[in-house]
């Protein structure tokens, strides 16, 4: 059985936290450039110019793209034939987050308890860690820090089967209109349809780790992605101060669900759609 030392996991997670904070993925950068070409609002073009220049400065100078370097979401796919040695997997991930956020001069934005005693943990731990067991002997790690300007505008709606496609569109657009210019558009919109309430929410997060240039492989969902994108771009929200580039992409993931249900979850991401991926 292949062995993997937790020290290696910690080192890689630390590097990925920095990488995600400094380097906007190429697909998102190209999406912003395309938006700049087609944006109809003069003020919108000024905003997009600033956002594009910001990405270039962050990349060239190893600086955080946004001061909200997020709560650290980590998606793990653990091969069932892999033996992790030298310590506890979740501890190793959190040690990597602490190291990356400290060494990388990233903002520590996590409080240890949400309601009665909101004290900063001072190293951005704990992360939000999702683990899936898969075939093979590799460890796949995706680090996706999530800023809360946009997270606070995300939402979920428990529809019923009779609501259908029209109901899904309405539910998504209600959340988008409520969010308006607040989540730092141009947004990337992750949608989870089906499963249970919690699974739909998780799918809407996972959808954001897919490239903005890649459509859902099922034609019906790919078409829905495009229709929703067109609707969002006709709301006038634009790049924060009005315009036609409200979103860069809509990514939908779906899962089997119950005969009585049609859960729809929407995670809104700002233009800082950051993630880093490695396989160990």
């Amino acid at each position: 059985m292949r062995e993997l030392d937790v020290k290696l996991i910690t080192e890689n997670v630390a590097e990925m936290c920095k990488e995600a904070a400094y380097y906007l993925p190429d697909d998102v950068y190209r999406g912003l450039k395309r938006g700049r070409e087609t944006e109809q609002s003069p003020v919108g073009r000024i905003v997009l110019d600033q956002i594009i220049k910001n990405a270039e400065i962050a990349r060239a100078e190893d600086r955080p793209y946004c001061q909200d370097t997020g709560m650290t979401i980590v998606f793990l796919e653990v091969g069932q034939d892999l033996h992790i040695v030298g310590g506890n997997l979740e501890d190793a991930i959190n040690a990597g987050i602490a190291k990356g956020y400290t060494e990388g001069y990233l903002r520590k934005s996590v409080v240890g308890e949400p309601l009665f005693n909101r004290v900063n943990t001072k190293n951005n731990t704990p992360g939000v860690i999702y683990t899936q067991i898969v075939p093979g002997d590799k460890l796949s790690i995706t680090v996706a820090p999530k800023g809360f300007g946009s997270e606070n505008k995300s939402g979920i709606k428990m529809l019923v089967p009779a609501d259908g496609v029209r109901g899904v569109k309405k539910a998504v657009m209600e959340i988008i209109l409520h969010a308006s210019m607040n989540p730092c558009p141009p947004m990337v919109v992750g949608i989870g349809i089906g499963g249970t309430m919690d699974r739909a929410a998780l799918l809407s997060k996972k959808a954001l780790t897919r490239s903005i240039d890649e459509r859902n492989p099922m034609p019906e969902y790919a078409k829905l992605e495009q229709e929703l994108l067109d609707m969002i771009n006709s709301t006038g929200i634009g790049p924060q101060l009005g315009g036609t580039t409200s979103a860069l992409a809509v990514n939908i993931e779906w899962a089997p669900t119950h005969i009585a249900g049609l859960p729809v979850a929407v995670t809104i991401c700002c233009h800082a759609m950051r993630h880093a991926h490695r396989v160990l």
Binding site: Q40, S41, P42, V43, G44, I46, V47, Q50, I51, K53, N54, I57, A58, E61, R63, P64, Y65, C66, Q67, D68, T69, Y105, L106, R107, K108, S109, N120, K122, G149, N152, R166, K169, K170, M173, E174, L177, S180, M181, N182, C184, M231, S234, T235, G236, I237, G238, Q240, L241, G242, G243, T244, C270, H271, A272
Partner: protein, 190 residues
């Protein structure tokens, strides 16, 4: 958009009342950062009848929690945070003499009414443009509540800090004006 208007602090009510929603500005001078935790502490202190550690008369508040500065830099990345979270505290703070606020996102009716009364202007900086905005910040000095870390109240010396007037002293709102021409969507037609 017309050429940017240059503003030098202190920012008086007279200066504030001249600005109109949609104006592009470049701010030079001192602005003061405060966000959720600092607003909570300050308004609680005022409720107890205490004096604040900072004189807010004719100041511009910046809703900000920066990343830590790298060695040799005055500040880390420092874009605006969502202003709406400060809305509950804002009328009280405007009574302290604040004439300008820099953040991002919408404000409540109560805030806009208090802005009209106090002659205050709300500016937006581009959300997320944090590495770019850092270029206009020359120094960062903590003034109060250092225990709040990135949420401490601090003085920022800025040169040509770029912002846009979103809500002016008369309550005109550029978020609404800016969206109107590009809105072709009606949710009831889905």
């Amino acid at each position: 958009m017309a050429e940017s208007i240059r503003i030098t602090t202190p920012f008086t009510e007279e200066m504030s009342r001249k600005l109109k929603a949609g104006d592009s500005v470049l701010i030079t001078g001192t602005i003061i950062s405060a966000r959720d935790a600092a607003h909570k502490v300050m308004t609680e202190a005022l409720a107890r009848g205490e004096k604040l550690p900072v004189d807010w008369t004719n100041q511009i508040v910046y809703y900000l929690g920066p990343t830590p500065a790298k060695p040799g830099d005055p500040i880390g990345s420092c874009g605006p945070t969502t202003s709406g979270r400060m809305d509950a505290y804002t009328p009280t703070m405007l009574e302290q003499g604040i004439k300008g606020m820099v953040g991002k996102g919408s404000r409540t009716k109560e805030v806009v009414e208090s802005m009209k009364k106090n002659g205050a202007t709300y500016f937006a900086a581009v959300g997320g443009a944090a590495a770019l905005i850092a270029k206009s910040v020359k120094s960062y000095t903590v003034l109060a509540y250092p225990e709040l870390g990135p949420e401490a109240v601090a003085a920022l010396e800025v040169v040509d800090f770029p912002a846009i007037v979103v809500i002016d002293c008369e309550g005109n709102n550029f978020y609404e004006i800016g969206q109107k021409d590009y809105r072709h969507f009606d949710i009831d037609k889905i």
